[in-house]
Amino acid sequence: MRRLILVALSALVFPAVASAHATLRSTTPSFRSELKQAPSVIRLQFDQQVKVLPGSIRVLNGVGKNFARPARANGTEVVAAVRHLKLGAYTVRWQAISADSHVVSGVWTFGVQVPAPAVENAYGAGGPTAKEHVVRWVWFLGLALTIGALGLRLIVLRGLRVPRPLERRIAVAAGIGALVTIHAGIVAFSLRAEDALQLPFGRFLYGDLSPMAKTRFGFAFVTMTLVFALVLALVYLSWLLDRVEPLVPALLLAVVFAGGLSLSGHDAVDPGSSWKTEIADWLHLSAASLWIGALATMALLLWTGAPDLRKAAFMRFSRLATVLIAVVLGAGVYLAIVRLPHVSDLWATGYGRVLLVKIGLVSFALLWGAFHHFVVAPALERADTGFLGRIGRSLAGESMVGMAVLLLAAILVDSRPPT
């Protein structure tokens, strides 16, 4: 208490330390604006006073030529005159010194008589890295675990007497999936923003991410974060109250908004994209998530937690998987035709080669699934405990192949199809 009073008194007697960390309030031109006339100045408005650095504002064209003259600070505003800009897309990279000597930074794009590119395509951005692929894969896995666990309970085990411990384990698995989806989304968004900003991590922490939030990726990130937070709450409610009803809206929300992942990728904006490809992409991803996720949770949770339900669940899942595989294949073939106009693209382009590996892995998983469907299912009636145990391991193996397919899907979503 005495210390607090001392702090209060010293605050009144001595001037406060002159330090600040500025936040960008507005810009001229605004983010992603398409201008009819080239701007003569670039203006940044902060919430507090800032100082400029050499190159505080840079206006870069598609080959990195800077058109901005030296910037000057005027109170909370930083202004730089701009040389005449020809028709085209431009990237503005800015940085300013806050009073506490931290450097705040940001980036945005605008177009002169052309549409402005998304900020992740700003000049200087390096594009997706291996780290981003891995994070997106984890995002996919979280989604598959959520949808798969919920689908297993609501579709495969519908009407069956499910033991309470298994009910709870399924809810916990779905909850972990939703948590992973939310947090992988945050990391994926941060990595994409870090790439656009081109800043080391220390400075990135204070970088302005709001232009990124206004992109398709940002919109998908915001929507999926909110929806999966709600899914998490519903799943928790189901676990707490031992009731299955809250899982129904949770599954519907998770499936409907799973499309955010594909819509945030390249596929949604590249040539050939239309509402049909977007729906096909959503169907492809949702069906694959349900298939792989339900398979994994069945192998890991049901097989060990409810031996009595193994046979019934296996038969039901086998029928469901047939429908899901038909959807995955139908949508996948359609998307491959749209994105790869020539068959030679499959081996001539990087995108095609990744797709080829993915097709190979999917075929392997399908063969494995067919073995389960045509060989294992008929033999199930006379199966003993040892045989059922081996089937559990086999299901786990098939789901591992499915997870590998999701990794390749993550790389494809991050990549640009050939034009």
Binding site: P15, D100, L209, M212, A233, Y236, L240
Partner: protein, 188 residues
């Protein structure tokens, strides 16, 4: 603005905790709905922090701080709900509270970009952070002495103090009569 909305929710949680400490757990649990009241409110406050995290992206660290608070509040609320409903049994689940307090406190201090005396909001962010970190001792003690009215009252006091601090929070306003000249124009 968002601070004030959350301050109301946190104030209500604090009042309920005070009332429970005064009346005793046995009386507090006499009505079924009441035992769920403040744990559920805590959980919902955590849920509502996700939109704050997702919609306010003016810095990465701001996002991470709000995300960690959402996680912390949801976890503590969920554990408390599990305990009062009988789904969870170990009183050690109450350790989620001191954990949430410490995470929240650190996030408050780390995400404040200015030093203590820059403006009132900066001062309060640091103060709230330290209140949480030091105040974590109350729920920590409560986890091991769940029937102690004194620890429960201390826990409630920390929550009420934090809500008052959140009410006092301003974006840019003087602290002890002083506002850094670099802080910009103050507003409502």
């Amino acid at each position: 603005m968002v601070h004030w909305l959350f301050a109301v929710g946190i104030l209500f949680v604090g009042l309920c905790l005070f009332a429970e400490a005064l009346a005793g757990r046995e009386v507090w649990h006499m009505r079924h709905w009441r035992k769920y009241l403040w744990p559920a409110l805590t959980f919902v406050l955590g849920l509502f922090l996700w939109p704050v995290m997702a919609f306010f992206t003016n810095s990465a660290i701001h996002m991470y701080a709000h995300g960690s608070w959402a996680d912390g509040l949801m976890l503590a609320g969920a554990a408390e709900l599990g305990l009062v409903h009988g789904r969870l049994h170990s009183p050690l689940w109450r350790l989620t509270w001191p954990l949430a307090f410490v995470i929240t406190g650190i996030a408050f201090i780390v995400h404040e970009q200015n030093p203590w005396l820059f403006a009132r909001s900066a001062f309060l962010h640091h103060l709230i952070g330290w209140t949480f970190i030091v105040g974590a001792l109350a729920p920590l003690a409560l986890a091991f002495r769940p029937r102690s009215a004194a620890f429960q009252a201390a826990f409630a006091a920390v929550i009420v103090v934090v809500s008052i601090q959140l009410f006092a929070d301003r974006d840019v306003a003087p602290i002890f009569g002083h506002l850094s000249p670099l802080a910009g124009q103050q507003h409502r």
